[in-house]
Symmetry: C2
Subunit: 458 residues, 2 copies
């Protein structure tokens, strides 16, 4: 009985070594194609400089839809189309303004503010009121009786000691998301939020809030770290003497029509089994949405381009999806999953890039432990291109509804996160802050992972 | 006999687990200290903005020596001193200029050039001559009969397909280092070298050349990638019709006195056994030397500062060395090792940072296989801070003479290399292109490695 077992083992080993070598060679081809002939950087330039910020339902967003459709077609999609979905239509409505003053001093110092996404404007007269600073929600509760008629300043610091900066974001983002309503509960007139960033500049970082619909929808703005420190200093040195004047203009129009932009390579063996790659096409309005999520958009398109350039014919159908409305509604990702469920589509895997165009380090994954183990077994193939870990951490926001609806295993590219929150939702999220090679390495590792899932399944 | 063995094993395991936990806690303290109270970024600002480029033997270099001495003292060195060494004194001598023209066309287009370090100037009249383009040294040999009286243009491309960009550098740098003499051998008047970079801009990247002293020392300049492509296009489209005019002013003064700047924490148990940490203080003149090697300088100082702030008393003597003259002579590193040998010093380990202030990924190491294994066994302790590999690849240039002279094991911080050659030896190697957290993470991992070597030896 020994010999056959040994032979079988030897055969399995040879096959595996052969496969691994074949995979390694093909992934090298992907890398060479993207590093030598890559279009991701040029496409990002086009998207950021010729279209710019692409807030959902803005003219720029619709321009980006057409750009995405055309670029997917030109990059070799077998077919490409727009998938309609209803989207929210929030507008900033004009320039956000703020200044602060200390009683008895005549000059108002300018605060550089950005209204939070989805927030209601102050009205044309603005709001001028005394400021109550709170360091946390516990602090808010402790001061709840002194908040009525005031502006609440959430000065919760982005924790520098988390090495992975998304942990700092997770830790702090609740003040942006829920701070307005929690302060409104105690009669606040508006809130100011310290930006979720540890950058060394003074850029305010916007991002979505969610109002509790049972409470007044009070205005909310973000300020940069230097302004936050200055305001804190004024409040500490002259307690009760600090007034802030705010004027914002945010409001909603009725929901309107937007689209996911989808390109497809039809599978040769399993055309009805779908692998999805995506990023989100919308971005906040004050910048160019270069890292968030122009990078994910051009990663997605680049993988299509590289597969076509290499003559790769996938077994499964691969969908390249530029999702609508990730930033302030997630309607695109939700629609994509809802339609998948309604049509009873079989989704094998979905991969997103929505953590910036920085040098890749890993992937996060959301699936069964067995699927995770399988994906982790491919790390040696990705290692030469910078990916050394795949951890259990779910996929991106846009693919998470697929995971919820259909139990589709999902993943997200995990680039180095040190610089991400220098730019995230701020005016400096521009093309110039994306590095060509770092961007390309993201596309390489994503393409390699898609190739492996297409070949071996999950 | 079984029980004692098992007990011994259990004890060893407990001890090891306990040690590892203790180490992990201390390294976390290092990280918190550097991330919360770090001075590396401020120190880098001071060095780059108040002193700037620090070419060996320039006034700025001597200013940097004094700055280094003062900063090491203020950061808590038990003692600090200057170690004298003779250094070369090359000067650029004025503005480098170049233009090119195609015969019959009246206008000369400006080429943006930087003379290579150590190169001889053209003389006040400059050199104007026809250009012969070569793609490689093989190509040079093939064209050797057509080179006399011409300017040779080395248009060897920085290979984009190496993922680790130092491989591309190693592959291409021979054209900068040896190209002038190889062309002089066939009667060339000057050389132009395509910069060792895959940046998207047109910055020329300087760096040292070495003349073969048996051949004429002809002028040599670097040009940026766009100019290189334009020149190539002109040469391809109008062969034999392209002239370049060059004017450079480089020359040497006699060797002079420079210094390594050294700070020390005296060991509590083994004061005569030395661990060295260093970076090089000199930089090329056209920029601020922020990544190369301001980052290494402030890494070095920051580790001293953090150890003092944490009250860490090393067993071994730790030397914090800001080396002189890495860029165009390595006299500082050589002197340090020569004196160590002459004084019969015992050097346990030497670690350098000279690959930029980018997000760390690993270390390279030069020592015995057993030492490498030991260092690699500590990776789990560094992993939370971004270091996941330690490979057999030697130390930095400045610590390599210690390795040669005394067989001292050496290492170098290995940050992510994707952006390094965008800035290396070019005008944009400035403070603004260094990220605070990426810089700090380098210091954290270096400090952790030094702590482990100090505790466990090698």
């Amino acid at each position: 009985m020994r010999k056959p077992t040994l032979l079988l083992f030897a055969f399995a080993f040879c096959f595996s070594a052969f496969s691994q070598k074949e995979d390694s060679i093909f992934i090298r081809k992907i890398a060479d194609e993207i590093l030598v002939n890559g279009k991701a950087y040029d496409n990002l330039h086009d998207l950021t400089k010729n279209i710019g910020g692409r807030l959902t339902a803005s003219p720029q967003f619709y321009k980006a839809e057409q750009w995405g459709l055309k670029t997917l077609q030109q990059s070799g999609a077998d077919k490409a189309w727009l998938q309609e979905c209803m989207v929210p239509h929030w507008v900033r409505g004009g320039k956000d303004e703020a200044s602060f003053n200390v009683y008895m001093k005549k000059n108002w110092a300018r605060l550089d503010v950005l209204a939070l996404g989805n927030s209601m404007g102050t009205g044309p007269k603005g709001i001028t009121a005394n400021v109550v600073e709170v360091k946390s929600f516990d602090d808010l509760e402790a001061k709840k009786d002194s908040i009525k008629g005031k502006i609440v300043f959430y000065n919760y610091k982005f924790n520098p000691t988390f090495i992975r900066t998304f942990q700092s974001y997770g830790d702090a983002v609740g003040y942006r998301g829920g701070g307005a309503s929690r302060a409104a509960k105690y009669g606040a007139l508006a809130v100011i939020v310290r930006s979720m960033s540890h950058s060394t500049d003074n850029n305010p970082h916007t991002g979505a809030l969610r109002y509790d619909t049972t409470l007044p929808k009070i205005p909310a703005v973000a300020i940069g770290l230097k302004d936050a420190d200055n305001l804190d200093y004024a409040l500490q040195s002259q307690p009760g003497q600090v007034k802030v004047s705010l004027k914002t203009n945010g409001h909603f129009f009725p929901d309107t029509i937007g689209h996911n932009v989808i390109g497809e390579l039809t599978g040769t063996e399993f055309p009805d089994q779908i692998i999805t790659i995506g990023g989100h096409l919308d971005s906040w309005d004050p910048a160019e949405g270069a890292h968030d999520d122009g990078a994910g958009v051009v990663h997605t398109i680049e993988i299509l381009r590289a597969f076509k350039a290499l003559g790769y014919k996938p077994k499964h159908t691969i969908r390249f999806v530029l999702f609508a409305n990730e930033e302030n509604g997630l309607r695109g990702g939700t629609k994509y999953a809802d339609e998948a469920k309604a049509k009873n589509e079989k989704h094998v895997f979905a991969l997103e890039s929505d953590a910036g165009g920085f040098t890749p380090r890993g992937f996060t994954f959301g699936g069964t432990p067995e699927q995770l183990k399988k994906v982790q077994s491919w790390i040696p193939l990705l290692y030469p291109y910078g990916v050394y870990e795949i951890t259990d951490g779910g996929g991106g926001a846009d693919v998470s509804p697929l995971n919820r609806n259909l139990k589709t295993p999902v993943a997200e590219l995990g680039p180095d996160s040190q610089r991400y929150f220098d730019y995230h939702h701020a005016r400096n999220d521009v093309f110039e802050n994306v590095n060509k090679r770092e961007l390309e390495l993201g596309a390489i590792n994503m393409a390699a992972l898609i190739y492996l899932v297409d070949k071996y399944g999950l």
